[in-house]
């Protein structure tokens, strides 16, 4: 029996061992199938989960973002843009000039040329290199200084073009400025030469101011609280800047101006101004004096009252008011100088009544982002009377009443906001002698702090 049992057990064992692989095959198939199915489902679920997760994270990110925003403490500026360093910028300038007539013979009929009033040196010349520093002084003042480096007769000279402090938000529209600044007469006069639209000064600036009028003194301006821009102001100075002259105690020159301006729709903007400047020059010297054979130059001097009135009008156009691509600028200025007094040199004395007037109109068209072209027309006149004409001749003043005229055409390439290459040609009839054709090729580049976009 024991044997039978053992045999049975063996048989079962054999059967089992024989049969097991058969069962096992089916199961593993099933298993594999199941695994495959599971994998597929898992894949699908994974994908779904991923989508869900994505949606959730989007939602979550959004909510955390919003939560972050809501939780952020208020009124704490993240950054402080104030650094104590002043804004420093420099303008580099150079030009090549070519004239059909020599620049030494240049004359402006009816006007005496002073200071930098003549033509730029022929050939290659380094123009003015200007350095400007500006910053808030404290909570009340803003300070700015511009010094210009230029060559004069082979020497490098440093000239203080502007150096002033100005109140910051004195309130109620008042602003006070003190120091040296370009006088608030006309439109171009307040701008530095490098931001003018042409390579040289308008003839009237040349004739009346020796290029530009500046004031050492005080300026007060008041801006009306109206939607239309209306500014009234005035300045007082020491009166020693040409055409002023002499050391004067107290107020040497004074100026009053009124400006108004605004927009017409989105595309157009304009500004108009009137101004009046007054000074009483003492011993203003005319450089045109002649040598009277004795060796020493016997200069003619002027003493009396000088009044200059100005009216200026500027209009700008840009499609949609967007100046970057295209724009047009039209500018016209007219000056009238009235002088009353006497002329004298060491030998003679004469009463003098002089009127010098004129102006210019210019139009500049920027037709693409990088190119501009412009036209300018200058015209001057004069009516000079003296009790002794000889003194006028000695002063170098042409009293024939000839009307100087000039036509200018320029083309500019602006590689960026910071650089400019300009070509300009003038047909200049400044004096009755001979017409002059003047050609300029000029570069202007600014480095450092971003130049301000004044109107």
């Amino acid at each position: 029996m024991k044997y039978i049992n053992t045999l049975l057990a063996l048989l079962i064992g054999v059967v089992l061992t024989v049969n097991t692989p058969v069962f096992a095959d089916d199961i593993s198939d099933l298993k594999a199938e199941l695994a495959q199915m599971r994998e597929e489902y898992e894949n699908r679920i994974n994908k779904l989960e991923q989508r869900l997760e994505q949606a959730e994270t989007t939602q979550q990110q959004n909510q955390t973002d919003i939560a972050r925003v809501s939780a952020q403490p208020i009124s704490q500026a993240v950054k402080n843009s104030n650094s104590f360093n002043p804004a420093i910028s420099m303008v580099l300038n150079g030009q090549f000039s070519d004239y059909s007539e020599s620049d030494d013979d240049y004359e402006l009929s009816g006007f005496a040329l002073q200071g930098e009033g003549g033509l730029a040196t022929e050939g290659f010349s380094l123009g003015e290199s200007e350095i400007t520093l500006s910053a808030s002084v404290d909570q009340l003042f803003f300070g700015q200084a511009t010094v210009a480096l230029h060559d004069h007769d082979g020497d490098s000279e440093i000239e203080t073009e502007e150096a002033f402090i100005e109140t910051l938000g004195l309130s109620n529209g008042f602003t006070v400025r003190a120091g040296r600044f370009y006088s608030p007469i006309a439109y171009l006069n307040e701008k530095h030469t490098h931001s003018w639209n042409f390579a040289d000064a308008p003839l009237i600036y040349r004739g009346l101011f020796g290029n530009q009028l500046s004031t050492d003194g005080l300026k007060l301006s008041y801006l009306l609280p109206t939607d239309l821009f209306i500014e009234l102001g005035g300045s007082v100075g020491n009166g020693d800047q040409y055409p002023g002259s002499g050391e004067q105690s107290g107020i040497g020159d004074w100026l009053f101006y009124a400006k108004t301006g605004g927009d017409i729709g989105i595309n157009h903007s304009w500004q108009a101004s009137v101004s009046h400047w007054q000074t009483s020059p003492e011993d203003r010297k005319y450089d045109g004096g002649h040598d009277h054979g004795g060796g020493a130059l016997d200069s003619v001097l002027f003493n009396g009252d000088t009044d200059i009135s100005n009216i200026s009008l500027i209009y700008k156009w840009a499609p949609n008011g967007n100046f970057k691509q295209q724009n047009i600028t039209l500018l016209g200025e007219y000056f009238y100088l009235d002088e009353d007094g006497r002329l004298n040199n060491s030998a003679e004395l004469a009463s003098y009544d002089g009127k010098q007037y004129g102006g210019f109109v210019e139009g500049v068209y920027q037709f693409t982002q990088h190119w501009r072209t412009g036209l300018r027309y200058d015209r001057l006149g004069s009516d000079l009377r003296a009790s002794d004409d000889e003194l006028l001749t000695d002063a170098g003043l042409d009293f024939s009443g000839f009307n100087p005229q000039r036509y200018s055409l320029m083309l500019e390439w602006l590689p960026s906001e910071f650089s400019r290459i300009r070509a300009q040609i003038n047909h200049d009839k400044s004096s009755s002698h001979k017409d002059n054709t003047e050609f300029f090729l000029q570069y202007t580049a600014s480095i450092g702090a971003h130049r301000a976009h004044s109107f």
């Binding site: 208020i74 993240v78 602003t175 801006l223 301006g261 927009d263 967007n322 691509q325």
Partner: protein, 298 residues
Amino acid sequence: MNKIIISFLLVIVSSPTIADLNIFACEPEWAALSQELGGDKLTVFSATTGLQDPHYIQARPSLIAKARRADLLVCTGAELESSWLPLLQRKAGNAAIQNGASGYFMATDYVALLDIPSSLDRSQGDVHAAGNPHIQTSPLNILQVAKVLSQRMQNIDTDNADFYQQRWQDFSQRWQTAIDNWQQQAEPLIGIPIVVQHNSWGYLFDWLRLKKIAVLEAKLGVTPTIEDLNKVLKQLKITPAKMVVHAAYQSPRATDWLVSKTGIRKVTLPFTVGGNDQSHDLFSLYDDTIQRLLDANK
């Protein structure tokens, strides 16, 4: 004559007595946001429109006159207005809007900026030292700015503080719902490769998780040269993009060139309120922006 003088004086005397808070917004998005937060308690003026490049504004007489009467400047900051806003501040004779005063509000002071350059050199274009100032392309930034701006209004105009607080709560709720909706709508755009003309879309791309694969302006603010464009063209042959994006106020010349060479889809986005007719307020600005991107992705 006397009558004229008297009426003139009356104009002068009467104009500053208007009780409203005078807002001078440098860009239309801040004008729109101020309007949302202050409603009829404000008189809002926008110095620029959606079709103007805010870098290239001049300190026009009209802007000086407006700055003179402003109680609160709401501007972008981060040097975006650095060539004209300081001039306005100087010429306006208005203590309220000077740097650091209560009426001086620069939105970028309250947002973490992208694209802060590691080196500053103008040969790289018109680089913004402070970082990308165009924060209005993400509504999350708007929310952040709105909160601080509302607080500022409450501080300046204490009489109406409750009103401003209410407006802010109402706005933030509507705005958060809107953000949820925009993000759901924009989901199909996640990871879409896009070319941009000017590198000013960082905040939008981060928010919607779009992929910027090329910039047409190799140097910031400098019109791309034909070499620059050809480089992009070459790059696109290897990794194609779905669309090219430029702002409505920019000249589309570079974008059009790329479209003509590759047939890529061109998307003109409003960039700010008023950038196109559809974007008349902040909500419609994003509605329209996302719609245009979705349309181009079809």
